[in-house]
């Protein structure tokens, strides 16, 4: 082996090829099997993709770097099940480009956050965290009360559809209207939202004001959807699935 290297280090292209080969093997072995994802990850029948409004909220969640302090991945450990709820399944993030599992919990995990607190609590907490949790060290996000820019939503959903997220042509076409309707429970567009994303989708004036669609509406709609895109993890914990 040493003799082989002794000769190799006299050939620059030889070194290049050897480095590429040596450094490729591990990645190929670990990543390639995940390309059979369709067979290895069972997508639950009731799994829905994010609504346009939730998607917009997700983009804001990334923009503000929330993932740097909050994970969205409950590990299969007893204390995490007790603290947060059922452990996360691979299928839950099957439509997430990118995934937001996170790597640090400066704040708590958010994978099971949906519908745990009221919309009003979230709005107050995002505007002034210490007014509801005095010891919180979370930054305040008062600028989320500005109007939501929905201009890119349609193209975003079309892009995700090309990547395999199940958004039909009608969902893409109605992106902006659906976003607006989800935060306006009395409007005509609400039926379309239910039709495309299921009856369980939360349709509410998330920031308390149905008249103006704000970034706050989007973020709160997103936070309330966390862990609620499928019931599969709850079924497993209750033993219904037989796993």
């Amino acid at each position: 082996m040493l003799k082989l290297h002794y000769n190799l280090e006299k050939l620059s292209m030889g070194l290049v090829v050897a480095i590429i080969v040596a450094a490729s093997i591990g990645g190929i072995v670990e990543i390639a099997p995940l390309f059979t994802i369709d067979e290895t990850v069972e997508i639950p029948d009731d799994l829905r993709p994010h609504t346009p409004l939730e998607l917009a909220g997700r983009e804001i969640y990334m923009r503000e770097g929330c993932y740097a302090c909050h994970s969205q991945m409950v590990r299969s450990l007893a204390d995490e099940l007790d603290r947060y709820g059922p452990y996360s399944l691979a299928s839950e993030s099957a439509y997430d480009h990118p995934m937001l599992w996170g790597s640090k919990r400066t704040g708590p995990d958010l994978a099971r956050l949906g519908e745990k607190y009221s919309d009003a609590w979230h709005v107050q907490h995002l505007i002034d965290p210490r007014s509801v949790v005095p010891a919180s060290i979370m930054p305040a996000y008062p600028w989320l009360m500005r109007r939501l820019d929905t201009g890119l939503l349609r193209d975003s959903m079309a892009t995700l559809a090309r990547l395999g997220v199940p958004y039909g042509d009608d969902a893409v076409a109605a992106a902006q209207a659906d976003a607006l309707a989800q935060a306006r429970p009395d409007s005509d567009g609400v039926d379309g939202v239910f039709e495309r994303y299921g009856e369980d989708v939360a349709v509410r004036a998330f920031d308390g004001d149905p008249a103006v669609l704000t970034e706050m509406d989007a973020v709160v709609a997103y936070l309330q959807s966390l862990g609620r895109l499928t019931d599969a993890p709850y079924g497993i914990l209750a033993g219904e699935d037989g796993e």
Binding site: G26, G27, L34, V41, A68, Y95, R105
Partner: protein
Amino acid sequence: MIAAGALGMTERKVAFALSFALAVLGLVMAAAAGQGVMAVHGAMAMLLGIFLIFRTGGALYDDGPADERFERYYDAPTRFGIAMTLVWAIVAMAVGVWVAALLYWPEGTPAVPWTSFGRLRPVHTTGIIFGFGGNALIATSFHVLQRTARARLAEHVSPWFVLIGYNLFCLWAVSGYVLGSTQSKEYAEAEWYADLWLVIVWVVYFVLYMRTLARRHEPHIYVANWYYLAFILVVAMLHIVNNIALPVGWGVAESFPVWAGVQDAMVQWWYGHNAVAFFLTAGFLAMLYYFLPVRSGRPIWSYRLSIVSFWGIVFFYVWVGSHHLHYTALPYWAQTLGMTFSVMLLVPSWAAAGNAIATLNGAWHKVRDDATLRFMFVAAVFYGLSTFEGSFLAIRPVNSLSHYTDWTVGHVHSGTLGWVAMIVFGAIYTVVPQLSGRDAMVSLRAIEWHFWLAVGGTLVYTVSMWNAGIVQGLMWRAYDENGALSYSFIESVQAMAPYYLARTVGGGMFLMGAVICAWNCRATMRAARGEAPDRPIVAQPAE
């Protein structure tokens, strides 16, 4: 500093054309975007292009350079790269101290988006890894490559293209985050066009490296170059695979990665951990393998050990990324493979660290007297400690406690402060006087001050984060006698306050040291007595 003086007449035209092309590229980007982050980035590229048009255009019809330049090494790009290293060090470390302070003092930031913790945190990580670390790697690689090949860089334009292009990438990345544009993939947050741009820069870097290597006057390629090559090649591989994304439109910064869910998590941490391996380890081991023997005046202790550790590191590291995903929805076998290889990785890592420390045998009096060499010694020690800690934390039950806590942050910083930054400072203090034609830096006392601030800061930082992480991990899993969780999450947050304060102080000490270093380097470069005295081997023209 960007002098056209050494460029030949054709090279000046090429440089001028490239500057023009950059300005046009910026204009096209700005026009295609019309508004938003991409338009701002287009304008930045255009302004840089126009500046370079004036710089290169002004020298277009000056007298050609003297041929005797080929009898010297081409060190101007290295000097520029070191200056950029220090600029990024101060900016990114200052941002790091600032965001650390915000965790203790959350109301300390004005209520405007761009000063928010979540936007500034990637500025710190990108600024340090790519700005500080990357510039240091490129700058020293040009220096080391020429010396170990005994040949001048293959030509004069591409080193500038690489350095300026690379810094444009860094600037696009960090300015994007504060403006609210991010891909959100950790340590790969830059948007799609910045990622594409980096690929172009990287290809030019690789070609320059290989062309210069081809001109070498030594039959054997020195060990430092194996590591620089591994750094260049594998970082390219990681960067391309991890960042494959579909832009929402050609005129917007937004894009969606093609990877989703568990697949994305595996790709992300394959990238994330190998950024540690091939950016923050391989490249800096190259520095260690060159500057430690040079400074101590001792040959590398064992050639065989360096071979074993090199191939061990290149082969084993790629497997370990999945240890970031223990107990998650990643398939169990992938987690186990990651853990197993993480433990095995300790062997080549300690072989490299041990080889470095054994090299100092017979030169311990120099380690005592010379703060520059002491930087390198401490770097090797921290390299050994961090790699041990890394293997330890990758073991599944240990990881169940440490993951998601500040222990990880402590581990990363024992590597980045204790190992990466220390070896960079050791290299800088060796190179800067040499390139200034001097025997030593202007102030040796300042190096001592920097050394003790850096070591003190690193220790305060890492010890407080270790404590923070272990306390957090234990509080999260503590049960009372009734079988209920003992602590609410917010109680674990409150327990962090003293540690967060201490880490801010430690980071501040480290930053002060970096500022002293920047001042010392500037003073030394300004007091230059000429160029580097060493010469390449030049073929003499036939009689």
